[in-house]
Amino acid sequence: MPTFSLVHLEFLGWAALWTLGLSAIAFIGGGLVGFAVALARISPVRGLRWAAIGYIQIVQGTPLLILLFLIYFGIAILGFSEVPALAAAGLGLTIYSSGFLAEIWRGCIQSVPRTQWEAAECLALTPWQRMTRVILPQAARIATAPTVGFLVQIVKNTSLASVVGFVELAQAGKLINNSIFEPFTVFMVVAAIYFAICFPLSTWSRSLERKLNVGRR
């Protein structure tokens, strides 16, 4: 019977790249959509605000697993028979992250003191200038830690993408274990790779916070 070898490690390495790729899609897609939803959530237009609240509630109240199933089979029902697993998983994770990032960032934007909004307004800045030049730079500093914290969640949640047939790190581990029956070794290696991805993110978060802390020494 074969045992855990370099071949398996190489296979896991490739799978880890897919995990990273899927995480990147989820974070970038979720970031773009989430930012728009966050702005809508604090918009003075009531309809926009309610739409954003509804979106956030629905996404946050649905398990990611169910979301992935819905998208994978939903797209098939709509007539696109061959849905690439990457597209389904990417879309599902994008929607999922956007719902959470929107709410995290909405909180960060609103935690910039009211007086800063007033001061910017009183200098005749447009709402857009006020947002980009005064509010967002301050909100970004507050947002760093929770955003990176959530990014780590995304990395780990990509493991659910295996249910739509996507072979990422966790699924690759399962496949290897099915052939060599060394669950402890295999999943220790898988766990170590996840940790190796997530740990630098946390370190990066701390250095980013320090960098954005300019003005508060």
Binding site: C122, L123, A124, L125, T126, G215, R216, R217
Partner: protein, 242 residues
């Protein structure tokens, strides 16, 4: 004489709490008006109404040709004419002193960077803080931050400046340096309305003192009115301040 600011019968309430109950006064060009009164007399609210930070329910406010009470008011155009300085400075903590000052002229008036920097140095010189241009607000004392806030307002070359209890968070020495800057401004002909607890400053610099009590203008007159109050309320207010 054309008034720069004219409030007529202004009413304002927060929920069921009536804050302003028919406030009227006028401030002419180059005048320095000091609004005094107990906490809760509505003086800060009146000031905030002047640059549309609060909307009023009844009455009219005209400021530098803008009808502030009009729902169709162009707020940005009003704010180009009116500068305001707050009790808590409200400098932007992520920008240096110079960037704080350059922000509005570059964004709003589309001034080129070099011109804006020149302007920043110029207004910083007026408040005596040229040396602090590269510092961040947190590295300055309260008095210095407040002077930067005044400089930031000045850089927009307003026709009217509002001061909302700008020295209330400062110790006497820092208060002195901020008041000196304001006195220089007044001498330079700036039209100013200040909400203040500094009676000595009001008496010395203000051309008009407005005493507010319970949401109304109770008594108004030149600085000397503080020495001979006509109403019992002002007498007791001035008396308690001594």
């Amino acid at each position: 004489m054309s008034a720069v600011v004219r409030l007529h019968n202004v009413h304002k309430s927060f929920g069921s709490h009536k804050v302003l109950e028919g406030v009227s006064f006028e401030v002419g060009r180059g005048e320095v008006a000091a609004v005094i009164g107990q906490s809760g007399s509505g003086k800060s609210t009146a000031l905030r109404c002047i640059n549309a930070l609060e909307t009023i329910e009844h009455g009219s406010i005209d400021v530098c040709g803008h009808a502030v009470h009009d729902p169709k008011l162009d707020r940005r155009s009003l704010r180009r004419d009116v500068g305001i300085v707050f009790q808590s400075y409200n400098l932007f903590p992520h920008l240096t002193v110079e960037q704080n000052i350059m922000l509005a002229p570059t964004c709003v008036k589309a001034l080129p960077k070099a011109k804006a920097r020149e302007l920043a140095r110029e207004v910083l010189a007026r408040v005596g803080l040229e040396a602090k241009a590269e510092n961040y607000p947190e590295q300055l004392s309260g008095g210095q931050q407040q002077r930067v806030a005044i400089a930031r307002s000045l850089a927009m070359q307003p026709k009217l400046m509002l001061f909302d209890e700008v020295t209330s968070a400062l110790d006497p020495q820092l208060t002195g340096e901020v008041l000196k800057v304001m006195e220089d401004l007044a001498r330079g002909g700036m039209t100013m309305i200040l909400v203040t607890h500094e009676m000595a400053f009001a008496r010395k610099v203000a051309s008009q003192v407005i005493y507010m009590h319970k949401g109304k203008v109770w008594e108004t007159g030149p600085g000397s009115m503080l020495d001979a109050p006509k109403t019992a309320e002002l007498a007791s207010f001035v008396g308690s301040g001594l």
